[in-house]
């Protein structure tokens, strides 16, 4: 069994060292009209290449751009669609991060790719494979305000409308060179009855993914109840947050996995460094039940909830514990 190290989406774009503050300063200057949009974009690119470099230096093998250009995970892609605009701030799940609520005024329509250029830039600036990120249509629909009467109180219809729009984005990201495209659907954990809707939406993506592999990812909750359904999803990879419940591990022990798993066991919500014994015990239980020839090892969710230095340390810890687990006889 191989364990491939990946980052679970976001990475802190700003840190406490002076050279890590460039993006924050650039945004301030841009807001004050002191630099151009081009200058801001250049800084974003510079920061994303730094973030990629930092992941690779820490030992990560499938990197992301850290989502450093995203305002927030919910609104960034959604408001790039026609008939969707950014609304007021709301709390993002149980975090103290705020996102802008997308407001749906009509049919969400895809006009041109938002993320393909970012992927191409990452591919050019990375010696490792690149993963693209997308917040899924179901989660986007659940977290939006709906003004358009045709979608009012109709989550299935709105989900599929977003899915059709996002399918074009998936195609563009794949063409731009994303090795894996991770689709985050944390909301389905809160509404497990809607899992069929998520499957239906992912089926649209599967048709457009080209050579890329699709990962379905959930976090901020217990995926135990849905684990069986996830095994039937039209994706190659199922990525899960293991910091919420024991039951999920028991389920895997019982059912096994025919899909590549993303093992989100490193707690991305706490600065405390995860204990070697807990990680090894977890791997001892789960890995024998997985029938694919590799799994991903990753943080439980995006790393933007940690300060930059701790995020870096978490990734380094992943690398060192993987080495010790696989090659040093668990020492």
């Amino acid at each position: 069994m191989r364990l491939v190290l990946t980052n679970n989406g976001s990475y802190p774009r700003v840190g406490d060292r002076p050279q890590e503050r460039k993006l924050r300063v650039a945004h301030t200057k841009f807001a004050e009209g002191r630099i151009s949009e081009r200058d801001l974009k250049d800084t974003e690119n510079w920061v994303s290449s730094e973030v990629i470099r930092e992941q690779i230096a820490a030992g990560i093998e499938l990197v992301t751009d850290g989502m450093v250009r995203w305002h927030d995970p919910v609104s960034h892609v959604a408001v790039s669609l026609e008939n969707v605009r950014a609304g007021g701030l709301r709390r993002y799940f149980d975090s103290n991060f705020l996102y802008r609520q997308p407001i749906v005024e009509g049919e969400p329509r895809w006009v041109k790719s938002l993320l393909a250029d970012d992927i191409a830039f990452s591919v050019k600036n990375s010696t490792r494979f690149v993963k693209g990120m997308l917040t899924g249509p179901y989660t986007t629909a659940r977290m939006s305000i709906v003004n358009a009467p045709e979608y009012k109180d109709d989550i299935p219809k709105l989900t599929m409308a977003f899915a059709e729009a996002f399918a074009n984005e998936i195609e563009a990201m794949a063409q731009a060179g994303a090795k894996v495209i991770q689709i985050d659907e944390p909301m389905v954990l809160r509404h497990p009855g809607d899992v069929g809707l998520v499957r239906e939406a992912l089926a649209l993506f599967a048709e457009k993914k080209g050579k890329a592999e699709l990962a379905l990812c959930t976090y901020f909750g217990d995926a135990a109840k849905l684990y069986g359904d996830f095994q039937d999803m039209p994706v190659e990879i199922i990525s899960l947050d293991f910091t919420y419940s024991e039951d999920l591990i028991s389920n895997i022990e019982m059912v096994g996995s025919s899909k590549v798993l993303g093992l989100g066991i490193f707690n991305a919500r706490n600065t405390r460094m995860d204990s070697k014994d807990e990680i090894f015990h977890f791997l001892d239980r789960v890995l024998p039940r997985v029938s694919t020839d590799y799994c991903y090892l990753n943080p439980s969710c995006g790393l933007e909830f940690l300060p930059r230095d701790r995020a870096r340390k978490k990734l380094e810890l992943m690398t060192s514990l993987r080495y010790r687990y696989l090659h040093a006889g668990g020492q």
Binding site: R90, N96, F97, N270, R272, P307
Partner: protein
């Protein structure tokens, strides 16, 4: 009835008492002083002088604007958790975390047992209260929120962390009461993030307030109100401060279904928008509240802290709340 409780505490307030949720924008001279202090161009004493000047500015402004229960405006705070973490033992101040857009804060890390070692807000309370005849609110962040907004490397779980914090924060509440503070607001803006933890938040608040001679208010905001109401009513405080003007959350139907038996501070202006509401708009919101909550249980204020607005916007927003309250007092039957 809470009014009797207030009277017993020696506080008489008019109908529709006007107050604020807590923070006000920092005047430009204070912003500059804070920058200068960070860059080590001025010393702490020089910074404190500017903080005092700004506090005095806001107290005097509220006094003459007709606000009834004043706040110090939190001129000396960066954010509402870090400020406490800096003074209590057991915390380290962690690196920068993004809270939204281009806003960042230092999220504290609990690395050992938390401990109240000295008064945190008392000097500021005394200073602010010395500038006015009207009551000044004591302003604290609640244990559940401090827990939720910190990393925990020490305690076994969220419960132990919260209870540990509650016992220490109570000491600050006691110190405020001791200093003569009779209206104390303990904010729990994080309370709605995990509805299943509501009993924990209630228990923690109980630890902070039980048996103390004061009128307690708690402000909660930006969350899934539907998930925590009516359980929120179990919070052992006299007054719940709610946002009624956030265009994205309509909590009225919920209040209608379970009419609160507490006093309610009704947020009558949206703090997230620049636009200043007209008095008619504010009065319409107040009318809606009056359909559900009896008049003698209503306080009025903005939805949330005004620190993200400009000084002028904040003043204009509060002025329109005052105007609406005063108009009602003069013609209560309407």
């Amino acid at each position: 009835m809470s009014r009797e409780h207030l009277t017993k505490l020696g506080i008489t307030l008019p109908e529709f008492p006007v107050t604020s949720v807590g923070s006000f924008p920092k005047p430009s001279y204070l912003k500059k002083a804070r920058e200068d202090y960070s860059a080590q161009r001025i010393d702490q004493e020089a910074l404190e002088r500017e903080e005092e000047r700004a506090t005095q500015f806001w107290i005097e402004w509220q006094d003459q604007a007709g606000v009834d229960v004043l706040v110090d405006g939190e001129m000396y705070r960066g954010d509402m958790v870090t400020f406490f973490a800096e003074t209590m033992r057991g915390f380290e101040i962690g690196g920068l975390i993004r809270s939204n857009g281009n806003r960042y804060y230092h999220k504290p890390i609990i690395t050992s047992a938390v401990e109240w070692v000295q008064p945190i807000t008392i000097e500021w309370f005394r200073f602010a209260q010395s500038l006015t005849e009207k009551p000044v609110k004591g302003m604290l962040t609640g244990p559940y929120t401090v827990m939720d907004w910190s990393f925990n490397e020490h305690y076994e779980n969220r419960r132990d962390t919260t209870i540990g914090l509650a016992k220490e924060i109570r000491k600050e509440v006691e110190a405020l009461v001791e200093a003569g503070c009779r209206i104390i607001q303990i904010d729990e803006p994080a309370i709605s993030v995990r509805p299943e933890e509501m009993p924990l938040a209630v228990e923690a608040m109980q630890i902070c307030t039980e048996g103390l001679d004061a009128y307690f208010i708690s402000h909660v905001c930006v969350g899934s109100f539907d998930q925590i109401y009516p359980q929120l009513l179990e919070l052992p405080v006299h007054n719940l401060d709610l946002e009624l003007s956030n265009p994205d959350v309509d909590i009225m139907p919920l209040l209608q279904a379970n009419v609160p038996q507490k006093d309610i501070s009704c947020g009558l202006v949206d703090v997230h928008s620049r636009e200043v509401e007209s008095q008619d708009e504010v009065d319409a919101r107040l009318s809606k509240a009056l359909e559900i909550i009896p008049q003698d249980r209503i306080w009025v204020d903005p939805d949330c802290g005004l620190k993200t607005r400009t000084v002028e916007e904040a003043q204009a927003k509060l002025e329109v709340v005052v105007a609406a309250a005063h108009a009602r007092r003069e013609s209560p039957s309407e």
